[in-house]
Symmetry: C2
Subunit: 565 residues, 2 copies
């Protein structure tokens, strides 16, 4: 294909609005253009990459026994009211009205529509299991869309749904999808990892996320260095210590802040020997105090599981209600009952606030100076924590969530009265699984994982073109272009995709552009080379260059570029 | 692929809500299911047909030099305000607000988005021409969605846009698209016809529609029996007579309606010798009277071209204003100035209303009894009218509009200030073309054109599967299924798509289902047949049956089923 036909819209300048390298490179290489916040056009080069992702996803879904269908983007509110999510989903659900003022939404996911289909069409256990998938444009009205297509509002997703007659069948369908996801990321040439995850707004009990590993990832993952344990830090458990708490050595002492010390760090001790208090409020006005080791962070998902939906109490409200700054709160004399994270509850002779501004206590001991608190797992794991499966220690890495699979169980089928006839003659609810992949996000994640200072370095299966041909004009541009064109034709006949840069740029500008777009192989056809019967072949990744004879170039290239699909 | 995996959702009963045969058959064969009015899920079988259409369209677009991209479904209002269509497009444009109350629409078409892209990215005539296309879900909020996916609100469309430096370049791009469209319908196995058309809400001066010919079509097309002339009746011109008007023979006479006669047909003459009057109102309250021959219909598009946007005045209002029923209006003594269609103006000694209820006039002659009217082409053509190109006569047929191409000219680029640098150094507006195909509507149109009393009869290129294999159980269902399965595998390896009906239905029910789905070839594997070493091969269309030896079946079938792609 000719660059003049594709309309290669590359950009030299680094776009000011782009924080992430993938966002910058996708704009600069001419893969995407913003139309509105979080809403993008996929330019031809970007769409070619997107389609390659789609194709691998489609093939692996089909291999796993899923069948493609296409549900509508616009969904009637009634179905969401039935499932209870019309009110629960929040403002990310793009709601709208048609000309008759009937309420609809632009589907961010399709559990309701598919459950409605299946309850109408499937009567008997004999028709099960069934697994359907679609690859479709979705919309989630993110409050702060950013990072290009990484966190866009309109995006392309593969969503699959399975229906089973028993929980065992659901579990085996889920395992098949887990395996298909693993193969998808392998085939795409991406380093990815499955981790146990919280199931969030989609629901169900068991779920796994798939992450492309990259420093820019918004998620933190906890991986054991000795076992297969892997979980999103949101979910990763901490283990209570198996050792008894140390015997108190010190007396309780109240002290003032030394000059220059902040109340957050009153004594200059290691924060691991300090306790801080967080105050949480429930939606019904309930208040909880949580004790954490000062070097630990509260895990909001664990807190929500224990208390229900909560948010942090504001500093002003704490002051008004408890009479001091949040940083000066402590367990001794606190007028609220206290829940402690295991690690905080395991301390002896610790430091904490005195519940008065500017004052703190040292030598505090649970049970002696304040009541023994209820103990729970409430914190985020940290690097080096023991692995919850007892094998090894946790290593934290960053990941970009590109897939999420769920065992929904009977959550939707119960709410929507989706039932089938069992073998025994009775009626029961379908067991359901659902399985998502962020198709457009994978493109951005791939760029995060595969780039260098000159631009994108596509893994072969994702490249928009296998080859870029760069004709270098000299004194006989017509002849050079003829050779380039015949090379293009022969490679395309051999099943390779080729971009022929016929824009007539100078070599430096052309090479910089082609490096930016990340096409794995560049073939330079130049006057000097042709004089010697050779073309230059350069590997984008290694930047290794080789001269190859023009007359055997095609056969050689057709053989030497392995393609995984 | 197994029927048990696909989840073949066929239905015996004829759905009550479906008027058109394509709607009925698409529901019954399990191609689509309604989710809300005009909003459908494409079931696996239907999606396979849709994808075949998409693939042919994609290949022909690429062959015509167009490059695929993907613009967003959700478009910001600002762009539509710039083009002037935010207010002009009417309630078919699905408008919505995001969580920040910013206005957007769900794109029914993408002229604004692509023009915005090109004005940002293309600077010079050197980068032109460029043609882009996308295959995408669109939304048009039809007031009365009906006929299944034929007139749906959410639908799949291929839209292409071309940008040129000169009108000549636009014209040649337009011709290339015209030829590509012709090839698309040929390849899909559909009898289609291109006709000159009105460009409506999209704009521009020259446009052609592509219609699949079918009795259920909503459009009427006028085709010459002697030349290539073809136009939508909306657009088809009528020619004024070349003969002079006949000399008046009769005196003007006023008469009362004979008993039993309606005022619409006072004298029992042939309506071709009567004139009736239609009263039209403009949006600013202007009023026009139009004289038509009583056997002719007003062409609203011709009227709008002459008068601007108009609608028919209500019966009540006519009575109030002119003192009689609309059927009693006539040119003699009418208190409004009159415009006549050529055919009405060519009459002598004609009959018409007397502008009083129950009274009519005969022997009316223009110029003698009432003023000579202004003459215009205002009516719809009728069967047998002379062809406007002077060659032959018009034949009227019905068509389903499945494509529409437009020479937009500089309409959008002027309004949106989309300019490029010319070779001469100046700046000028892009010349634009746009080219749509109703991908999902093609599926319904194909069913209208290809069905029989038992169900759909797909043209080969559109069939969801090439072969259906029907195993007939008998006493050894396992062995039969084994043979069927090995046949399936071998045909699939030969590149054929196969549906193996493993649902265990009785032969009658299975055959009826397979006939309904329209799969072109049915292979019956039965105990009796296998005893004789044969399978039965049946052609869905001709219903011809042949016995073929099992051991050579695959090679034979792989050769004998021509596939156009």
């Amino acid at each position: 294909m000719r660059a003049s036909v594709v309309g290669l819209f590359t950009v030299k300048e680094t776009p000011a609005e782009a924080e992430l390298v993938s966002h910058r490179l996708m704009l600069r290489a001419g893969l995407i253009r913003m139309v509105a916040a979080g809403i993008y056009t996929w330019l031809p080069l970007g769409l070619r990459v997107l389609r390659r992702v789609e194709q691998v996803v489609r093939e692996e879904m089909e291999r796993a026994g899923a069948v493609e269908l296409l549900m509508p983007a616009i969904q009637p509110a009634e179905l969401w009211q039935e499932s209870g999510r019309w009110t629960k989903y929040g403002p990310e659900l793009l709601r709208l009205h048609d000309r008759h003022e009937r309420p609809f939404c632009f589907g961010p996911t399709h559990e309701e529509v598919i459950t409605d289909l299946i309850r109408r069409e499937v009567r008997s256990y004999r028709q099960l299991p069934l697994t359907f998938f679609q690859i479709q444009t979705k919309f989630r009205d993110e409050i702060r869309p950013r990072f290009g297509v990484m966190r866009a509002r309109e995006f392309v997703m593969k969503d699959a749904y399975s229906f089973h007659d028993t929980e065992a069948s659901l579990r085996s369908g889920y395992e098949r999808m887990h395996a298909a996801y693993t193969r998808i990321f392998e085939r795409l040439g991406l380093a990815a990892r499955a981790v146990a995850a919280d199931s969030g707004a989609i629901g169900g009990r068991i779920s796994h996320e798939f992450h492309v590993l990259a420093d820019a990832g918004e998620d933190r993952l906890a991986l054991s260095d000795k076992s297969a344990y892997a979980a999103n830090v949101e979910l990763a458990e901490t283990l209570p210590s198996t050792l008894p708490r140390a015997t108190p050595q010190h007396a309780l002492a109240e002290e003032g802040l030394p000059p220059g010390r902040k109340s957050q760090d009153p004594s200059g001790d290691h924060p691991a020997s300090r306790v801080r208090i967080e105050i949480l409020e429930g939606h019904g006005g309930e208040v909880w105090a949580v004790a954490l080791r000062a070097d630990h962070e509260l895990n909001p998902i664990k807190a929500a599981k224990l208390f229900g939906p909560v948010s942090a109490m504001s500093e002003e409200k704490i002051h008004e209600r408890l009479g001091c700054n949040p940083a000066c709160l402590g367990p001794v004399g606190l007028s609220l009952s206290l829940v402690a994270d295991h690690a905080a509850a395991e301390l002896s002779d610790f430091t904490s606030g005195a519940n008065r501004d500017g004052r703190y206590l040292s030598g505090i001991n649970w049970g002696r100076d304040c009541p023994e608190p209820a103990r729970h797992d409430l914190r985020l794991v940290t690097e080096g924590d023991p692995s919850p499966d007892g094998q090894g220690h946790l290593h934290l890495v960053r990941g970009i969530e590109v897939g999420h699979i769920f065992q929904l169980g009977t959550e939707y089928s119960e709410r929507m009265h989706a039932r089938f006839r069992e073998e025994t003659g009775g009626e029961t609810c379908f067991w359901m699984g659902c399985y998502g992949i962020g198709v457009s996000r994978i493109v951005a994640a791939a760029v995060e994982q595969h780039h260098d200072e000159w631009g994108i370095v596509w893994p072969l299966p994702l490249a928009p073109f296998d080859y870029a041909i760069a004709p270098i004009g000299g004194n006989a541009p017509e002849r050079i272009l003829d050779v380039a064109q015949s090379l293009e034709n022969r490679l395309e006949q051999a099943g390779r995709s080729v971009l022929l840069d016929d824009r007539g740029l100078r070599p430096g500008a052309m090479f910089a552009d082609l490096d930016l777009t990340g096409i794995p192989h560049r073939l330079v056809v130049s006057e000097r080379g042709l004089g010697r019967g050779i073309i230059e072949w350069r590997d984008r990744k290694t930047q290794r260059t080789e001269e190859i004879p023009l007359d055997t170039a095609c056969e050689m290239l057709a053989q030497s570029v392995p393609r995984s699909f």
